[in-house]
Symmetry: none
Subunit: 196 residues, 4 copies
């Protein structure tokens, strides 16, 4: 009886390492050897699981996204009022803890890669579709509950998501003018002022 997926485990190990390395030194500087070392294995093994560097990177981007969604699923399904769920959801994306920061870094690297890579654009499209649907659903819930003001929920979701992306970038860049605290304040004010 073979252990279920030694392969799957090893792949995860490599993908996790890849994301860490991307976040640390950037996609451009990443070498297969860096990932191998981080995953405590060899370049040969990395290539055993991923034919090319490109394959590895795409898999890493997808893995980064699916983990990000997994980590938030409970937040969305919670039995809280929409206003609270929205705040919690947005709050969970603030680049404050290491895990979230790493995920954001990887995500930012994906954006720039996607500018010249249709496959990654497609991944982005799906991911953002999902994100928009999630936010818009909460917004509609809130509007139905009379918590949020009226208006096109999708437009609102887009505005909110765009803002979070843009501000997160500034935080990631270590901006002194846009720290996590500032970002939290901006998000708070926007949610307070315009959603209630």
């Amino acid at each position: 009886m073979p252990r279920v997926s030694v392969e799957a485990e090893r792949k995860e190990q490599i993908l996790s390492a890849a994301c860490e390395v991307i976040a640390e030194i950037g996609f451009k500087s990443l070498r297969i050897a860096d990932v191998a070392k981080r995953a405590r294995t060899s370049t040969g093994t990395v290539h055993y699981y991923f034919d090319t560097k490109r394959d590895l990177m795409h898999a890493a981007f997808e893995w980064n996204f699916s983990r990000s969604v997994d980590r938030r699923r409970e937040l969305l399904d919670a039995a809280e009022p929409p206003s609270v769920r929205l705040r919690r959801f947005i709050d969970s994306y603030l680049p404050s803890d290491d895990e979230t920061i790493t995920a954001w870094n990887v995500w930012a690297e994906l954006w720039i890669e996607a500018l010249h890579d249709p496959d990654l654009q497609e991944l982005n499209e799906q991911v953002y579709g999902e994100w928009r649907r999630m936010v818009a659903a909460i917004v509609r819930d809130g509007q139905d509950a009379g918590e949020f003001r009226e208006g096109d929920a999708v437009v609102f979701a887009n505005a909110l998501i765009g803002m979070v992306d843009g501000l997160s970038l500034q935080v990631l860049m270590g901006s002194r003018a846009m720290t996590v605290e500032r970002m939290r304040a901006v998000c708070d004010q926007v949610l307070t002022q315009f959603l209630s």
Copy 2:
């Protein structure tokens, strides 16, 4: 009698070429030879003016920014009501024409580089400081004129800028769900709904 600034002219030529190449194929893929060819010169000449690839890239990023500001200065100084100036200003950043799209692409590449480069972080800091001041100034003008609702102008500027950055990225990535038109609509609604 040397012509005044053969040097300056040639540098511009190279920097312009560098930005075009960055926008087209990305920072990561850019080779000095590409820039040289685009500038109709040789790699030797590029290195004659810029010691290292890094120097060239930094100079290109700065050049990209200063051109971006130059192109908008008149918008800010126009004798229009603040609400119009703000709309025009935001509108000028929509990635619709080639020049603006190129500038955004370069800027996006800078972000990702800046994640691992303190010098570029500093450039980003200055640029965003300037941008925030410009937007916040219009917002305050509008508040003084009674056109905009009250509230912290800086927070508002940050929210607006963040949103524009985030949405632009999606547009640049060729998102079918976030085209320039959609982005324009989102910006319009946000400005209409919250500034009036």
Copy 3:
């Protein structure tokens, strides 16, 4: 089960090739590609074993020296009278056979590199220290045996070594006035006249 020191073998192969190339075309003209070709391998492989050209050169210089010493160890330990051992030792340094000529050429190149490289100066210092000790030891043996005239053995060793170095250079340069035969004659006369 990795063969014992594929690495060591391969390194030797490369170092040997490097010394040959240095001797043939000179340190200044040496290209990694030359060494690779001589070692019947690729530039990539050379760099796999030696990070930089400098590392390779330093290693080659050390290898050249240690081989030189190995080749002479038996001479020094021979059970001959000191006068014979000294003559044989000096004689073994005459640039007459290909192996010795190659070693001298490499050594000469090291001298010039060492003029501007403290690490190589240190190597030279150790090597000459060893050489001086060896010669001085024979000289003292000879003095104890009454074969050599009295006097400071170290001073004498230095004079002898200096002379051999200087004359060898002339021979290496293909001087018509200082051939190996002439050099041998000069050494003979000095040894005869002053050691007996």
Copy 4:
């Protein structure tokens, strides 16, 4: 009436600069631009006077030698006993003052170049011929005057010159075991012990 040889002056200036640069950073590292800067002129001008880098280097080597001879001519012609003239001559070659050290450095670089350059070998041949004749002449004078012991003067000259070359190299390399003082002591002892 044109000034006599602006050209000659400028050439000297460049050759002097070339020698200084060779001595400082070595033949291998020398760039035309370094020489130009040292001579307070431009690379274009250097090439105006010397077609190729090789031409410049050869000229510099010759210039270095002729200056070296000029500086010692009076020593040789002095009306002193041969033993004094020989000591003074040898002494003048000790790498103690900056000028002599520079000259030695250049000379050492020439040796290594000559290993792979017949033209420089020829220059070396002439120079050493001259040097040998000078030393041998003093030796013969000394023998005639009964100051020096009998023996082949040329062999003796060769031994002496070889020793000076070899020891100078060690001094130039900054050997802690062979400083100028040590070298002077060795030379003294050799001259004393064997010439008197």
